[in-house]
């Protein structure tokens, strides 16, 4: 049975709107700053087989592999055994999960007793236990990073709402009110998605809705394949490097082989370095998300709904035991950093064949800033995710001071921090002039935040990258400027590495400066007006402009 044109359009828009609403409500009702201000969460509607049909466009990284996170749950606890109130939970990096902090919840949607789909949400939880509040940069295995929820099935009435699972979680985490609140926001968002799908079933019959879901997957697949077909066949290579693993100074190679063949793309990370002892290992699901996001961003218009169908044309492979597909029990908390280099490697591979569609490398890192303090009333944790400058393209300068491409976190307003935290104060939040690489179009600027520490016993924990290896310019453009972190203590300047935990003293000034993006095209080709504007606005200094 084929769904008619109009019903297909209406149901598709309805599903996409419902997923978007789930995402908006999850953000708006969440408790921890990382979800509510930074939007580090995602939501999707899935068909009854666990294929993502529609998603809220929040965080690219969490969206690609939701299906992969779902499947181990359904394999263990088949979907035909589910009843009202059941849910799947999974955060196991070695069974389809990402890092532990991203907990995926799947709630079945029933219409008149028949399973018609799933509401799915994932949120980055502020603290899930483990060796240190919010972030444990010293973890040498996944167990030191927090609680693992292996793929499981529970029931809301029986296990949550004061039940054994909720009690177990509450007892093992540091800021239970916020974390449990965020779980509840996830459950509620799943419920809202469910209600919208049920409405559609009531209006169009479940058969038509299920059919329309299938067609929506096919539709995205067709559009993705059409976009891939426009590129000539060929095999392309790209590579990029992480600064280090946080222990040695050795750069870590990530290499991609990208094969375009008809209407398919195969990304193979053969040649990538082995897994490491620290948390920059990237679970396979995250690697897949990085590869997919890059291909999707480069090749297709932002208008194509991203779902399981759009993934059918793209295959991502990573050697088992490499940094992009590590063995248990590797620590994975900072997996974003390797994921970004996996993204950059694909982008660089595609540059020669699609020079107008790619952009130069940007800061392309997730810089996490955690400031925590243990007081008599328990822990206070401030966690923020910083991006930097985007790489330039042949269409214009890279975007200044924005979250990096695989993520999309908002900043925490300084006034919100001033309300909430009394152990530090942000005294400067500004663009870093001259941080974008020169070029016909310049890279986006990085930015800095200066934190004045006002209390005792404050611990700073971070991970970041591009402190030593700059993002490379494209087609003659200059490299972007590296990031740095410093502590100003009296007359002393302490330069910190990119991945570290460091005790701060009252009166310290912590300066986190993120990197700029690289330029595109020869700097000599830059329009005079653009140079003049950069000078006048102070985005560039006179010395820099002279070059």
């Amino acid at each position: 049975m084929a769904v008619n044109t109009v019903d297909q359009a209406v149901i598709s828009q309805g599903l996409i709107a419902a997923a978007r609403e789930m995402g908006v409500k999850l953000v708006r009702s969440a408790y921890s700053p990382v979800v509510r201000e930074a939007n580090d969460c995602s939501a999707a509607l899935m068909d009854r087989f666990g294929n993502v049909v529609a998603q809220a466009e929040l965080i690219p990284m969490q969206l690609g592999p939701i299906g992969a996170t779902f499947r181990p749950c359904a394999d263990l606890f088949p979907t035909d055994t589910l009843v009202e109130g059941d849910f799947y939970i999974n955060n196991d990096p070695f069974q389809g999960g990402q890092h532990l902090q991203d907990v995926f919840l799947f709630s079945p949607i029933f219409f008149q007793g028949v399973l018609v789909g799933f509401g799915a949400t994932v949120a980055h939880h502020l603290d899930l236990g483990g060796g240190a509040p919010g972030l444990n940069p010293d973890a040498r295995d996944v167990h030191q990073e927090g609680i693992i929820f292996p793929p499981s099935k529970y029931n809301m009435d029986h296990d949550w709402n004061g039940g054994p699972l909720e009690r177990l979680v509450r007892a093992n985490i540091r800021v239970p009110d916020q974390t449990i609140g965020d779980f509840n926001a996830q459950f509620a968002a799943n419920g809202i998605g469910g209600a919208r799908v049920q409405d559609l079933c009531a209006r169009f019959t479940p058969d038509v809705v299920l059919e329309a879901m299938d067609e929506l997957l096919d539709y995205s697949e067709r559009r993705m394949r059409a976009a891939i077909s426009e590129l000539p066949d060929g095999v392309f290579y790209g590579e990029d490097f992480l600064d280090d693993d946080g222990i040695s100074d050795e750069p870590l190679r990530i290499q991609a082989r990208v094969e375009i063949k008809g209407d398919t793309v195969i990304v193979d990370y053969e040649g990538t370095c082995d897994q490491v002892a620290t948390n920059v290992n990237c679970p396979y699901a995250s690697t897949v998300a990085a590869g997919l996001s890059c291909v999707k961003s480069v090749l297709t218009s932002p208008d194509i709904p991203f779902n399981e169908g759009s993934k059918r044309a793209i295959e991502v492979r990573a050697p088992y035991g490499s940094i992009l597909n590590p063995r248990r029990p590797a620590p994975v908390r900072a997996r974003m950093l390797s994921a970004y280099r996996a993204y950059n490697a694909v982008m660089k591979a595609l540059a020669p064949t699609a020079p107008e569609k790619v952009i130069a490398s940007g800061f392309d890192s997730t810089e996490i800033i955690v400031l925590s303090q243990l007081g008599v009333d328990g822990y206070q944790i401030y966690l923020e995710i910083l991006g930097g400058g985007y790489g330039a393209s042949n269409q214009g300068d890279g975007c200044d001071a924005v979250d990096s491409p695989l993520s999309n976190c908002s900043n925490v307003p300084v006034e919100a921090m001033d309300m909430e935290y009394d152990y530090f104060r942000v005294e400067d939040y500004s663009l870093v002039p001259d941080s974008g690489g020169a070029g016909r179009y310049r890279g986006g600027l990085g930015f800095q935040r200066r934190y004045h520490i006002l209390g005792d016993n404050v611990t700073f924990a971070t991970y970041s990258d591009r402190f030593r290896l700059a993002p490379e310019g494209l087609f003659g453009g200059a490299d972007g400027v590296c990031a740095s972190t410093q502590v100003l203590r009296g007359d002393e300047i302490i330069n910190l590495p990119s991945k570290v935990s460091f005790p701060l003293l009252k009166g310290d000034i912590l300066v986190a400066r993120t990197g700029g993006g690289a330029g595109y095209g020869e700097p000599g080709e830059r329009a005079e007006d653009d140079v003049a504007r950069d000078l006048e606005e102070g985005f560039m200094s006179r010395a820099e402009a002279a070059e």
């Binding site: 109009v6 297909q8 359009a9 209406v10 598709s12 709107a17 609403e21 908006v24 409500k25 708006r28 009702s29 408790y31 700053p33 509510r36 201000e37 466009e57 929040l58 965080i59 690219p60 009110d177 916020q178 509840n184 926001a185 459950f187 509620a188 419920g191 539709y219 067709r222 559009r223 059409a226 996001s293 999707k296 961003s297 932002p302 194509i304 569609k357 790619v358 952009i359 910083l386 991006g387 393209s393 269409q395 975007c399 200044d400 001071a401 924005v402 979250d403 999309n408 900043n411 307003p413 300084v414 006034e415 919100a416 001033d418 104060r425 400067d428 939040y429 500004s430 663009l431 930015f447």
Partner: protein
């Protein structure tokens, strides 16, 4: 006489009411000089300004000043270290996969921003005092260039304690008395520095433009011996005497859509309906707004050109579905409508001005729901063949007949409108079935019934003179102002919290009453109270309306109950613990009703037309009754669908299973036989 003049992008509308007699006029707008269009409409309506007691004006002057970047040269004074707030924005992207992403452009450049040494903390205590001597010297140098006309002052945590902003304003005023000064504390006292700075800067940017526009307007009025009261429409659905605009120009953004909603509210209210969803469908887009018990929903945030504005505005959602919206097929084969629009020029293909792509108006022409001979009451020539021609390619690609294609496109447009209505209803925890749909604008009444069916809405009310409802809304709106204030109060403080609520609302009430008194409005002010609340830890607040009668005896327990109810409605979950909830912001509205609220039920053509026509609807050609508005009134049992009612500037479509009647307020009611 009472006169409303609404300057829109394409037309300037006028409604004049005297002794219950209604006059309407519609003239082309003069985009570069909106006041010329307004004066032309007064002339066209034959209005003797000397006899006008009440003149209300709405325009797109403020909106256009921002969209076209033609505001006043503005400088921004901010706290040391925070010069880049307008460029950093919120660090996120609105399109996550767009590699070429650009942030919305602020209305000023980085060199127009001056950092001042000072700092408040989040509790409003001074961390670093403002050194007046040093600052005065700094200002002399920075503003002394003569580059600026307007100065925005927005300091970090200035919402909590505006002392430093006031000091700065005084320093600027002393040295540069000609500059317009706008303090954030006078525009919005809510936290989040980017949004507040953006609001303040935009306010300062449009203020001089509005000031000079209104001065020019007033002098033209004076030349024509106007001595009545002159007031200006605002985006919050109320008006203000012109003097009130000298501090509040930012509130005049988007006043047109707000006026339309107010017109709909008033006209539906005459028939006893207060729970409404308004649907204003024009050439390029559709605006929808939910009205509960005669009060349109408010939103604390809106944006223009991607730049945030935090002042209370009517919660109007706009979707790109209008008569000019383009019907197309995407590269995955899906039929789409909008957001691209043929606009007014070239317009739909049937206008014969060079439009080559099928638009919704063309689709109606192909399926017979707009008749060429009666387009805009027969005042405009349109080309039916051109409409059919532009649908040929699309229909071949979709393998459907022309009329099937047109019918499908209309249904896709309907679905887009349904989506917008769900945003203001189901998504806000409101059930659309409890509301009456009130369509207006040229194309609203054509789509309303099918939209209603999708939402299970069974009653539609079509106001008379729906084409000039916005201008009427100007006359029907109250005088209205809001005060907002961010102040965090935990409910765990118990009765102390409730006391603080009383005290703060009391102070706000004094301020707003004084402000109205300054504008010469003293009598019968009505107040509305609301609190933005959240569970501790959440970052977004839910607005909880507080009944004025309940306020004196308010307890922390009642507040928690009200909040939980609202939270549950929107998010489907709540919490019971008192220690977990807090108040974040206060909002107080004060309004005064105009002396007379005229009705719009006059000046309707009494031409009785009754005939037959053919329309293609839901897959088949149907024989359909064709009527004028006056003809329905003669049918005592109402007119069953399918029927088309041609009503001057718009056409009402009554499908099968619907019946149309006219009530004693001259509203047409459509009822669904469900």
């Amino acid at each position: 006489m009472r006169v409303g003049v609404e300057v829109g992008g394409t037309f300037t509308d006028l409604v004049a009411i005297e002794d219950g007699r209604v006059r309407v006029a519609k003239v082309p707008s003069v985009p570069a000089r909106p006041d010329e269009g307004a004066m032309a409409s007064l002339a066209a309506g034959g209005i003797d300004l000397a006899t006008v007691a009440d003149l209300v004006h709405g325009s797109t002057v403020a909106t256009n000043a921002i969209l076209e970047r033609k505001g006043a040269p503005v400088a921004l004074l901010t706290t040391r270290g925070f010069r880049d707030v307008l460029f950093l924005q919120r660090h996120n992207r609105t399109q996550i996969y767009d590699l070429f992403y650009k942030k919305p452009e602020p209305v000023l450049a980085r060199r127009d921003i001056l950092e001042i040494d000072e700092r408040m903390n989040g509790q409003g205590e001074v961390v670093e005092a403002l050194d007046e001597t040093a600052t005065a010297a700094q200002l002399a140098e920075f503003l002394g260039t003569g580059r600026y006309k307007s100065v925005a002052i927005c300091l970090l945590n200035g919402y909590a304690e505006p002392k430093h902003e006031r000091q700065l304003a005084a320093l600027v005023a002393k040295q540069f008395p000609d500059l317009t000064i706008t303090c954030s504390a006078d525009v919005t006292r809510e936290f989040r520095e980017y949004e507040r700075t953006s609001t303040t800067t935009l306010a300062a940017y449009v203020q001089p433009v509005i000031d000079s526009y209104l001065r020019r307007f007033e002098s033209q009025l004076a030349e024509q011996k106007f001595t009545g009261r002159f007031s200006i429409m605002q985006s919050n659905g109320g008006r203000l005497p012109v003097a009130g605009m000298s501090r509040n120009a930012i509130t005049s953004l988007f006043s047109g859509p707000a006026a339309g909603v107010m017109g709909a509210v008033r006209q539906a209210g005459l028939s006893g309906y207060g729970d409404l969803i308004t649907l204003d469908m024009g050439g390029t887009s559709t605006d929808v707004c939910l009205v509960a018990d005669g009060k349109p929903n408010l939103s604390g945030e809106t944006e223009v050109d991607g730049l945030p504005i935090r002042t209370p505005v009517l919660d109007i959602v706009t979707v790109g579905a209008g008569g000019g919206s383009i019907c197309w097929q995407d590269d995955g084969g899906m039929l789409r409508v909008g957001p691209e629009s043929a606009g007014a020029d070239p317009g739909p293909a049937c206008y014969g001005r060079g439009g080559t792509r099928p638009a919704i108006t063309d689709a109606h022409m192909v399926r017979g729901t707009i008749r060429a001979e009666e387009f805009l009451g027969g005042h405009m020539d349109v080309d039916k063949d051109a409409a059919a021609n532009v649908f040929k390619d699309l229909s071949e690609n979709l393998d459907m007949s022309l009329e099937e294609t047109a019918d499908s496109a209309v249904r896709v447009a309907d679905a887009n409108i349904v989506g917008a209505i769900q945003l203001v209803s189901t998504e806000r925890g409101r059930d659309p079935r409890d509301y009456v749909l009130v369509p207006f604008g040229g194309a609203g009444p054509l789509h309303a019934a099918r939209v209603a069916e999708e939402l299970d809405i069974s009653t539609i009310l079509v106001p008379p003179n729906a084409g000039v409802l916005s201008a009427y809304g100007l006359l029907a709106s109250d005088f209205l102002q809001y005060e907002t204030l961010t102040r965090r109060i935990a409910l765990s403080e118990g009765e102390a919290a409730a006391d603080q609520v009383q005290t703060l609302f009391g102070e706000m009430l004094d301020r707003i009453t004084r402000s109205f008194r300054d504008l010469g409005i003293m009598d019968d002010l009505t107040y509305s109270y609301s609190l933005d609340m959240r569970f501790i830890g959440q970052a977004f607040e839910i607005t909880v309306d507080i009944d004025a009668d309940l306020l004196p005896g308010m307890t922390a327990g009642t507040l928690l109950e009200l909040f939980n109810e609202a939270h549950n409605r929107v998010f489907s979950f709540g919490e019971s613990g008192m220690h977990r909830a807090e108040i974040v912001s206060f909002r107080l509205g004060a309004s005064a009703a105009p002396e007379v609220v005229p009705a719009l039920n006059e000046g309707i053509s009494d031409k009785v037309v009754k005939g037959q026509t053919q329309i293609f609807d839901r897959g088949e050609w149907r024989q359909c009754v064709l009527l004028s508005r006056a003809a329905i009134a003669l049918e005592t049992n109402g007119v069953p669908g399918p029927a088309l009612v041609e009503d001057g500037t718009s056409t009402i479509f009554v499908p099968n299973d619907w019946t149309a009647t006219v009530d004693d307020q001259d509203n047409i009611l459509l009822k669904w036989k469900d």
